[in-house]
Symmetry: C2
Subunit: 211 residues, 2 copies
């Protein structure tokens, strides 16, 4: 079988992809400060819905980058997002990614409290020195738990990336975060995922590299 492959050098694939995305977005106007993030999420998912779904609090991207430049750590609710975040680049800024989902004490605490491991992992994150960027790509319970911590004054995130995916309490958890008074990037609706969470973190990181 013969197929037509476009001849693109390995180092040019991403640039070429971004050109195609920009072309297909056409007249759809992205806010300049958010365009990097939106385009990288579309690059990761091939899903143009994210041109509409992603909601940014004012200055969220710049706040996130400022935090990363200052060595901010990232807490995520999935090992997949942790795997996808560019940890080398983060480390060169002084940061690190943490995911407590597989920790035994988190599993134990979740069982004791009748909650999810994701929610329990947010409690464990309180022990980290802040401020922290939270990248929630899977569990709405993590987002709700984080919101409650914020309401109780226990934590003040540098940025909340709220992109859990799914069908049970995902939409209300995100709407909750959209009412919060911290910098946020939220994928409105059901869509999101650990790949989206990682893509947003990387878009923030790569934007720093380009300066």
């Amino acid at each position: 079988m013969k197929i037509e492959l476009e001849k693109v050098l390995p180092q040019d694939i991403e640039r070429r992809s971004m050109e195609i995305i920009a072309r297909e977005l056409g007249d759809r106007r992205l806010e300049e400060e958010n365009a990097d993030v939106i385009k990288r999420v579309i690059h990761t998912t091939a899903d143009f819905d994210y041109a509409e779904n992603l909601i940014f609090s004012p200055g969220a991207v710049e706040r996130g980058r400022a935090a990363l430049r200052a060595g901010c750590h990232i807490v995520t609710d999935t090992q997949m997002a942790k795997a996808g975040i560019n940890k080398g680049r983060l480390a060169r800024l002084g940061g690190e990614v943490h995911c407590f989902m597989s920790d035994e004490d988190v599993a134990k605490s979740a069982k004791e409290h009748g909650t999810t491991r994701a929610a329990a992992s947010m409690d464990k994150a309180l022990s980290l020195p802040g401020p922290i960027i939270y990248a929630i790509g899977n569990a709405p319970t993590a987002l709700v738990s984080l919101y409650e911590q914020m309401e109780e004054g226990l934590v003040r995130p540098a940025l909340v990336i709220g992109v859990p995916v799914g069908f049970v309490n995902v939409i209300p958890a995100k709407e909750l975060m959209l009412g919060a008074s911290v910098p946020y990037i939220v994928a409105r609706g059901r869509k999101g995922g650990s790949n989206v969470a990682a893509a947003i973190c990387n878009a923030l990181l790569y934007g720093i590299g380009e300066r």
Copy 2:
């Protein structure tokens, strides 16, 4: 701010999600043997496009499960998919997940041959004892490289999960695999991803557990 959260116990969230997915699929008829995989991918992405996009060669799901039961290994092109696959369950069947993308010899070989690390990692996979399930969630070049190996008689995969995502050569690479005479599960079009690759592997694994 007050929002309405549905009261669902942690252990019931997945079952409840699957109920919602089944309800929303409504009259859309999924082939019985493929339904587990399709529903898990929708569960992972909240994207009902996959009810249409996923193309299965006849008996692909059963062939994949038979291979896994026999201790088949999985090779993937992303650390994220590796992170997302249920490695405990795979190990209990005798299998293991391999991702060679970060290996120094793969980076070196890619540079020397002017190809992608993904393609070079497929060459490295030839050293594994077969048969292998390939779960390609990111790079179309990996899928093309694998197809060429098959054409040359170098490899005979137990199953190809061909779900790279993106804009450059993704569609032709998948169409190529749809013409191959091995068991495959392919996400037609641009969509896919490491999360989709992992979800398909897990749907195969969980189907074995239920027997």
